[in-house]
């Protein structure tokens, strides 16, 4: 599907917050175009407005000025076409794993799928993240990595146009994180869904992304650089370690983050 305009577009987006009469500008002049099927990472130091940017795309907060367009339609409210994988999984603890996914399926496909189709769909998405074995467990009974898997299944089950992930693996240990990154890559290869991921992990960004959006430090954060990662897929983390392209990309991101940091420290 090729449109004149890109699939998802942020045009001159500003975001400021008013707190106690003091206005603080978090994002200033954000321009970003994302193609269908692209995997984008947004990376930056903490407090640079990465999460704010995600909330703007999700529609959870409104832009102060500028516009967010998805398939040429303005985004001004949250919705299942921009499903979010939250940083701390945000599963509803009183529902089972199955019910947590099913609640979204029921909402999105209430008219288009029959009850048994919705059931199969739910199980299929749990299969996709390898969680169908725990479908009757409650979130308190499964590990952090498993919870995040269910969070991903819940988001995927809504068949979003854009999958938004807000530091999805931030709270996980390194091994679980690597495992989930592989899962995400496999799912992306299979579904070819458009995905935007917030991260502060350089390796994760290079491994998963088609393009890496590097944010300058706030206040008035903006996009500093966009790096295209020219690595072929499927990517295998062990082979990539020695890949010159991988090393070059990694170095570019690190350099950006490190030099901006130093710049800020020098200015402070």
């Amino acid at each position: 599907m090729h449109l004149d305009r890109p699939f998802l577009k942020l045009e001159q987006v500003d975001k400021s917050f008013d707190r106690g009469g003091v206005t603080s500008v978090v994002l200033k002049g954000i321009d970003l175009s994302v193609d269908k099927g692209e995997f984008i990472s947004i990376i930056g130091h903490s407090g640079c407005g990465k999460s704010t940017m995600m909330n703007l795309i999700a529609g959870l907060t409104r832009v102060t000025s500028g516009v967010v367009l998805l398939e040429n339609k303005e985004v001004n409210a949250p919705g299942p076409d921009r499903a979010v994988v939250f940083q701390n999984h945000s599963l509803l603890p009183w529902l089972t794993v199955y019910e947590n996914v099913r609640i979204g399926v029921d909402k999105v496909f209430s008219r288009t799928k029959s009850r048994s189709q919705r059931h199969d769909w739910t199980l299929h998405k749990l299969d996709l993240v390898q969680m169908s074995h725990a479908k009757d467990k409650r979130p308190s009974e499964i590990s952090g990595g498993m919870k995040q898997r269910v969070g991903i299944a819940r988001a995927l089950a809504m068949e979003p146009k854009v999958l938004l992930m807000d530091e999805p693996f931030g709270a996980l240990d390194a091994l679980t994180r690597a495992h989930l990154q592989d899962s995400i890559m496999a799912i992306h290869a299979q579904l070819r869904n458009t995905a935007i991921m917030i991260t502060h992990d350089v390796d994760e960004a290079v491994l998963l992304s088609d393009r890496i959006v590097m944010m300058t430090n706030g206040p008035e954060a903006h996009i500093g650089e966009i790096l295209t990662v020219p690595l072929a897929r499927p990517r295998r983390r062990l082979e990539l370690v020695a890949d010159p392209q991988y090393i070059r990309c990694r170095k570019a991101v690190l350099k950006f983050l490190y030099e901006r940091r130093r710049f800020v420290e020098a200015a402070a």
Partner: protein, 306 residues
């Protein structure tokens, strides 16, 4: 002798069976019959010990209290009856709660049931309206600013102060008593529900927003389960207050309830009956509290965020 022998044989046989059964399950060691009996005995002993540690202290304290009471009130001209005197005068009330000898001569069990029925109506209404109002106050800033000060003032009004007004409004004793229960129990339910709803994590609200849950779905699927621990705290306080208020209300409105029974007993100087009735009220109030706590435990299972 033969009988005894066959018994031992049967026992041995049983031991053999249990051994072979035990062998069928891998990893389970076969236990000879004598050991098995010993473990059973040890288990029983342990259970008995646990029961004793729970029940023994209150029994001892109760016995001591009764003894002191007996000593304090057994002299001539004591103003309050002693335990033995109560038993002599009111044993029928204690022993058979459900006798029925005509309109005003019925067992305390019946009277408690009548009072409980009023509490059920009043508290039930308070629970429904309390949760709804609490949800509104918790959800809307404007409703909170408007209603909270009024609630904070009204909740300090003692239950019985409402009685004259409700008698004037309803012109009947029974609905007035129910109204007093309602107005007493509703405040803690409203306030706790509102706090519970204000404490719903932003994450859950975001999830609901992404799913585009409508108001009704949000209420049933997010608000109620998320605020359930708070709501049940409110309900538990509310049921306790209801039970406090019903006795006072019935003293004034008359009828069949346990409150009126106490007032009636005071008017005819049956102090022993009053003490028995007090015990009933205490035990029933305790049970009400436990019932709500039990329901809360069932209902909030798994709602603790991990």
């Amino acid at each position: 002798m033969t009988l005894a022998l066959s018994n031992t044989e049967a026992l041995r046989g049983a031991a053999k069976v249990s051994q072979s059964e035990a062998k069928a399950i891998p990893g389970v060691k076969a236990i000879p019959a004598a050991d098995w009996l010993a473990t059973l005995r040890a288990g029983l002993l342990k259970a008995a010990k646990q029961v004793a540690t729970v029940l023994l202290p209150p029994i001892v304290v109760l016995a001591l209290a009764l003894l002191l009471w007996q000593i304090a009130t057994s002299h001539q001209g004591a103003s309050l009856p002693s335990p033995t005197k109560i038993w002599a005068e009111a044993s029928d009330l204690i022993a058979s709660p459900f006798f029925n000898n005509g309109p005003q001569d019925i067992g305390l069990g019946w009277r408690v049931l009548v009072s409980l029925e009023r509490v059920a109506y009043g508290f039930g209404l308070a629970a429904v309206f309390g949760v709804l109002l609490g949800a509104i106050v918790g959800q809307s800033q404007w409703a909170m600013r408007g209603l909270d000060p009024i609630f904070q003032v009204l909740r300090t009004v003692p239950p019985l102060a409402w009685l004259p007004l409700s008698l004037a409004a309803f012109r009947d004793a029974n609905p007035s008593a129910i109204f007093v229960i309602f107005i007493t129990a509703i405040w803690p339910i409203i306030i706790n529900t509102a706090v519970g709803i204000r404490n719903i994590p932003q994450d859950y609200r975001n999830v609901a927003a992404v799913l585009r849950l409508n108001q009704l779905e949000f209420f049933w699927r997010i608000m109620i389960p998320s605020a359930a621990p708070y709501i049940f705290t409110g309900l538990r306080i509310g049921v306790g207050l209801s039970w406090l208020a019903i006795v006072a209300a019935e003293m004034l409105t008359g009828g069949v309830g346990i409150g009126f029974f106490i007032w009636d007993a005071w008017n005819s100087s049956r102090l022993s009956d009053i003490i028995v009735a007090l015990t009933y009220i205490g035990l029933v109030g305790f049970m009400l509290d436990r019932v709500i706590a039990f329901v809360a435990k069932l209902a909030t299972r798994g709602t603790q965020a991990a």
